[in-house]
Symmetry: D2
Amino acid sequence: MQNIILLMHCPDQKGIIAAVTDFIHHYKGNIIYIDQYVDRINNTFFMRVEVEANGGSASFSEFQTNFNNSLGVQFGLKCDFYLKNHRPRMAVFVSQYDHCLYDILAQQQSGRLHCEIPFIISNHTVLQTISDRFDIPFYHIPITKENKLEAEQAQLKLLKEHNIESIVLARYMQILTAQIIDQYPQKVINIHHSFLPAFPGAKPYHSAFERGVKIIGATSHYVTEDLDAGPIIEQDTVRVSHGHEVKDFLEKGQDLERLVLLRALKLHCDRKIMVYNNKTVVFN
Amino acid sequence: MQNIILLMHCPDQKGIIAAVTDFIHHYKGNIIYIDQYVDRINNTFFMRVEVEANGGSASFSEFQTNFNNSLGVQFGLKCDFYLKNHRPRMAVFVSQYDHCLYDILAQQQSGRLHCEIPFIISNHTVLQTISDRFDIPFYHIPITKENKLEAEQAQLKLLKEHNIESIVLARYMQILTAQIIDQYPQKVINIHHSFLPAFPGAKPYHSAFERGVKIIGATSHYVTEDLDAGPIIEQDTVRVSHGHEVKDFLEKGQDLERLVLLRALKLHCDRKIMVYNNKTVVFN
Amino acid sequence: MQNIILLMHCPDQKGIIAAVTDFIHHYKGNIIYIDQYVDRINNTFFMRVEVEANGGSASFSEFQTNFNNSLGVQFGLKCDFYLKNHRPRMAVFVSQYDHCLYDILAQQQSGRLHCEIPFIISNHTVLQTISDRFDIPFYHIPITKENKLEAEQAQLKLLKEHNIESIVLARYMQILTAQIIDQYPQKVINIHHSFLPAFPGAKPYHSAFERGVKIIGATSHYVTEDLDAGPIIEQDTVRVSHGHEVKDFLEKGQDLERLVLLRALKLHCDRKIMVYNNKTVVFN
Amino acid sequence: MQNIILLMHCPDQKGIIAAVTDFIHHYKGNIIYIDQYVDRINNTFFMRVEVEANGGSASFSEFQTNFNNSLGVQFGLKCDFYLKNHRPRMAVFVSQYDHCLYDILAQQQSGRLHCEIPFIISNHTVLQTISDRFDIPFYHIPITKENKLEAEQAQLKLLKEHNIESIVLARYMQILTAQIIDQYPQKVINIHHSFLPAFPGAKPYHSAFERGVKIIGATSHYVTEDLDAGPIIEQDTVRVSHGHEVKDFLEKGQDLERLVLLRALKLHCDRKIMVYNNKTVVFN
C-alpha cells in the first residue's frame, strides 16, 4: 500500500464512517485526515480521507477493487482513489496576459502547487519568453474562426501524447468547444475576471465599470459547455470606487485573478474538491 | 450665513477651485472640508465643500443666488446647497423583516444617522411593535395587486403632508411605481440582498444557493424605474461555503444588508453622494 | 429525552465517533448535526453533536449519567450537556456606549440571539432610556475606585438572584475583578475595540491612530484575569487610511464591534464554542 | 521640461493650490493628477501633482530651483521632485523564502512594478536559481554574528557602485544596522509577516497560533532603527480558524505577504507615499 486520498459520496445512511475507517484499518492504513459533509436537502454524504500507508501488503488496485466490491456495493459509495505522491499532469493554456502564468509557474517551481506542467499552449507567442525562463515547452497554436476545430485537434493530440490529466485556462481568451471539454469533465479550470454570475462573457471589467459597482471580483470554476456557468471553485472580491477607471479595475482585478486561480488549482491538485449538481464541495 | 454643504459639478476647466474658494471667502465662509474628483473620460469636475459660517451677513438664499449668477454662469457650475443643520426628513418603508428597521431606528436615536424619521409605512402590521418601542408613527397601508396605485396615492399623501424628502426601502417587499419614484428622483434608497447585478429581482439568496457561489453580497442603490438597476451607493460581500444552506445565506446576508444600507443612508443624509450617468460619486 | 447539544473532548483514539453515535441511537436520539476536530499537536479530539429526541424514554439526567459512566470512563470523554430549548440567561453590562446594547436587544427580540436577558447593569444612567424601550430592568450600580469590590458584590447578588449563566460586557468600561470572573469561567464575554493582541487596554483607537495602522479591528473574547488576554472567539477588521481621524476610527470601529460581539454571542448561546488551552474551538 | 511628479507639504494656509497650479501653468505644464490632504490636527498640507510637459523650455533643475525660490519661500513648501520616466533603482535583499522574490521579479518584468533591479543580495545561495531565470546578478554575502558589520560594508559598497536608491527586504531574515538604514531613510521597505504592532520580531506566525487569533496579517513598512516600528505603508489580513496549524498560517500568510509587499513597492516606485511623523500619507 502507498499513501492515498479518497473522495467518496453516497446516499446518507448510518454506519458509513465506521465501515470506511474499519476497512482502511484492515489494510493497515493510518487515517491522517478525515472530513465529511452531509447535504441534508439531497440526503447525500460526502467524505474525504487521507491515508498513510503503514506496511500493508495490498496493491493500490487491489485496495480499490476490494473497496468497490464491499463498501461500494453495501452503501452505494462512489469513490475516487488517488495516489498521494502522484502529481497531476496539467497543461497551461494562455493567450497574452502573463500574471496568472507567472504565478502558476512560480508556485509550481517552489513546490506549493503540486502538479507537473509538461507544456504551455498559446494562440499567441508573447508569453514564450516566460516559458523559456522556466524551461517549459511552449506550443504556439494560432486560432482563427476558420481553423478552430482543427487547432483544437492539434491541442488534443498534444494533450493525449503527454498524458495530460487537467487543463488550466490561465486567461486563455478562447472558448473551448465540446470536443475538448467532453474529454476532460471537471478537469478544465478557468479563471473568469468577474464575480460570477455577474458579468459573464467578454469584457467584464468594462461592464462592471459601466454599471458603477463598488466591488469587483474574480471566479475560478470548472469549465462546462455552458459558458461561465460551470461549478464554482473559488471567488474573491475587492473594493473599487468612482475614482477608479477601467484600467484600475483591470490592475486590481489581476491580483484577484491570480490569487483566486491559484487557490482553485491547489484545491484541485490536492484532491480537495468534489463536484455535485453543478456545485463544488470543498474540503479545506 | 449658516454652515452649509455644497455639491457641485461642471465641465472640467482651469480655475474652478480657486474661484469657488474665493467666492466662499468673500462671504466670510471658512472651508472645513473640500474634496474634488475629475472624471477624465467625460471631462467633468465634481466638488464637495463644507463651509463654516464665520459671521458673514448674507442670507442662505442670497448666497445661492449670487453663487449661481456668478460661478454658475462663468463655469456652467451646477450646485446643490444644503444647510448643514437641516436633517433630511426620511420615511421608512418596511414589510416584515425587522433587522434593517432596528438598525435605522437605533442609529438615528443614537445620533449617528443624521435624519428625521417622521413615520414608518408598512404593508404589514408585524413591525408595529418596533415603531411603538421607538415612539414613531406607524401607518399600515395594505397592498394588493388590485389596489396598488391607490395604496401608493395614500402613501404619497402622507409623504407630502409630512414634507418627506427621502425614502428608505428597508426590505420593503413591494416595487414602487413611477408615480412615487418620479417625485423622489435620487431620493429613494433601497437595499437589495445580492451583489448586483448578480441576482436581481426576487429570492436572490435562493438563486445564489442554486448557483453554488462562494461569496454573497448586498447592494444599496437609488431606486429608478428599472428594477434593481439604479445608481449603486454601497456594496459588501461575505464568504459562504458548500456547508451553508439557504437559511445560512439569509442569516449571514442580513448582517450585510443592515450594514450596507446604514452606510448608504449615512452617506446620503450627510450629503456625500452625487449621482451622474446612473453612477454615484461618493465623497468619503 | 429532549433535544440536546453535546460538546465533548478527550485524548484522540480509535472508535470514539462510532461509540458516541451508537450510544445516542440506543437512546433513540436522531443526530442532526455532528462535527469533530482533532488537534494533532496535542492529540485531542473535540466533537459537537446535536440530537433530536425521537421518543426515547430516558430522562436528561439519566442520559448524562449513563454517558459519563460508559463513554466518559471508556474514552476519558469530558462532555457538556445542554438542553437545546434552554436559552442561557445572560446579563448585559454597559457603561455609556449604546451601539452594542442596541444590537444585542434588537437581535434578542427578533429571535436571532437565543438567550434570555433578565436585566442590564450599568455604572451610568445614560442607557436607561434604551432598556426602557425594550422593557428590560436596568440596575444602576455606580463604581468608584473606592467602592469597586462592594459594587461588584451588589452585582453578584443580582446575578445570583436571577440565576444568570453568562455575562456580556457590551463596552462596559470597568475591569471585572476575580471575585466575579472566577464564578463565571468561560461565561463572561467581552468586546475589545482592537485587533488583539495589538492595542490591549485603554484607548486602542487612539493608539492605532498614533501608530498609523492601515487596518483596525475588534475582538470578542472570554474574560480571564489577564486583561484582554482570554480565549479569542471572533475578530474582524476594516480598512482605514491617513485621511481618517480618531473619530473616524471610532465610528468605523463601532460597526465592527457590534458585529463581532453579536457573532460571538450567537456562537456562545448556540453552544458552538469549546475552550481549550486559552483558545477556542468554534464549530460553525 | 519633462513629465514630473511633485510631492510637497507645508503648514496649511490659503492659496497654496492656486499658487502651485499657476506656477506649473507658467512653465507650460499640464496637470494630469492633483490630490491633496490636510492634516487638521497638525495643520499640515500635503499635495501630490503629476505634470505632463507641454513644450516648456525650462530644464528640470531650473524648474526645481525656481519652485523652491518662489513657492518654497512664500509658503514654506518642502517639495520632492521626480522625473516620471526615471524608474528608481532598487536592490532586493532575500534569504531563503522565494514567494516575494518571484512576485517582485515577475511584476517588474511584466512592467507593473516600475523600477530597475540591478541585483539581488542574499545571505544564502538557495534563491540564486531564481535570479538566474530572470538574468539578474546575484551576490551571496554570508552573514554571521561576528562578520555582520563587515558584511554590511560589502553590501553598502555594492549599493553605492550601482547607484541604488531603494532597498526591498523581501523576507530578508537579518536586521539591518544603522550604518545602512541611515543612508537610506524612508527608502528601505520591509514586509513583516504579522499585523503590526501585533507580533513584532521573530516567528510571528507561531506567536499568532499560540495566541489563538482568528485573523492573521502582513504589514509592509519603511525600516527605521526601531525594529518593526517604522511608518506603515500597507497592511492586509486573512481569516484563520482553530483548524489551522502553524504551517497553514504560514501558507495563507505567504499570499498576504507577497500581495502587501507588492502593493507597497508599487506605491513607493510610483511616488505616491509621503512620510510624516512616523506615518505615511498614501495618495492612491
